[in-house]
Amino acid sequence: MSTKPSSAVFNYRKINALAAYTLAISAFAFLLLPIYWLVVTSFKPIEALFVVPPEMWPHEFTFKNYVNQFDTRLIQLFQNSLIVSGAAAILSTFAGSLCAYAISRFYFRFKSALLLFFLASMAFPVPMLMITMYSTFNQLGILDTYWALILGNTAMGLPLSVWLMTNFIDQIPTDMEEAALLDGASPFAVLMHIVLPMVRPGLAASGIFVFVTSWNELLMGLTFVSSLEVRTLPAGITLAFLGEFEGDWSEMMALAVMVTLPVFLLFMVMQKSILKGMTAGALK
């Protein structure tokens, strides 16, 4: 091998590169094929769905599937999901970053046990937690209101917020805070004006994570609320799919595209800080 002429080495490299590109493109196509199929189907007229072989590229584009969805019910579902996910994201990030600051900057015993508990709590069986949540919310009289879902989703998101924010705050050197404290600034002022502005990418990552998981959440949406005024998108789609659905797949696909789009865009815009938060946590 070592006596190979240089031109052969060159070719060998070229073939390698070609193979790598081919493999990468096939992996890419394989992973994105379902998304492609989702989007393409949502633009097909319903008659074009029930053909063999399936149309890989639609002969006729239509926006009808989207336009047909726009009734007051869908707008209500979207609005509910936005309120619930947005509020949960804000509450969880707020409580999570305060707690993370305490974990990062205070000396106290059982700190690693506390972090381990937060990590482990992501594994607690959700249906089991929901039993007691249901009873608690029932006693508080907030079943079938936004609050049941907001509190439930905040609780589910909080461990992740604490973890993410602890990672982000740990990366900031304490010099500036020490200097400000020596200058007589109050701890609150230090937190508000020095620390929080520096971890803005972390706050964004935490907020988006909780928003996305709450947007995705189905079980609490099905269980804690029953009226359309507070029902979330996943619960609404589930009830429609199990109930009145009669095989109009292209409209279902259009609905799925519309549900995915908000989180998709959010994620795309903020991918940098999300990646940073995720990899920082995992590589520790």
Partner: protein, 296 residues
Amino acid sequence: MLYRVKKDPWFFAVLVLPAALVVGFLILYPVLNGIYLSFTDASPLRQGAHKFVGFENYTYLFEDEVYYASIFNTSYIVFVSSALAVIMGFLIALLLHFGVKRFAPLFRALVFQVWVVPWICITILWGWMFNKEYGLVNYLMTASGITESNMDILFHETGAQWVMIAGFTWRSIPFLMVIALAGLQSISTEIIEASELDGARFLNRIGHIIIPMIRNVLMVALLLDSVRFFQEMTLPLLLTQGGPINATMVLSLFTYQLAFENWDFALASAAGTIWLLFLISIAWLVLRYGIRKEHV
């Protein structure tokens, strides 16, 4: 450390209070209360206070075939999809890092988006793609000669399980790929170059240098992902309702149905408690034997 609890007790209390309230009332208390309820006959349908019944719920569960099926199915589906996802995620990360480095960020950015597609959308899409007459999967499988004629995959025991595995794997490959890629990027190029100079072949380099270096990262990511899979039940709830013949009955669906369809809080709590113990022992095994401690 910047602060001490003894010196700034009020500041500490204010920082911790919101999180402590949420965690205390909505996570810690529900877990402990759940364990307690599993020894009672609690149900919202029953009038009056619940009474203590000892291990009755547990003995009942251990005589229930469906419960055994759900434990087995969950382990099988989660294990196969985690293994597939970690292998494929790692291979794609290798390919990106060593093969097409220039396009790695673009590739990663596009593929990572798969990770946010809501489960409800995957479920609907899967229902259509695995449709018997007009589904894309059936068409591709028949056209390529894998199957002779179209199958009703969702009503076939093994088929339905693989529909779930496909969903889990597809959604988590991007996550594991991102983690593996970050792990690869954290290995210094000097180590790789030194091994190249030593004449280590590509496969040897992967086996002896790269995998040992990012093994812990992958293990932790794998554990996080499996834990998420344990909770996920949108696919079986909508597409198969646990069928056919309980082939896709998973622990989460089983527990949820006990609690909020049969309203048997006590039995569901027992199922949840066993689920928790089961997960804890798996996590312990992974952390004990899967993570290599560094001897520096």
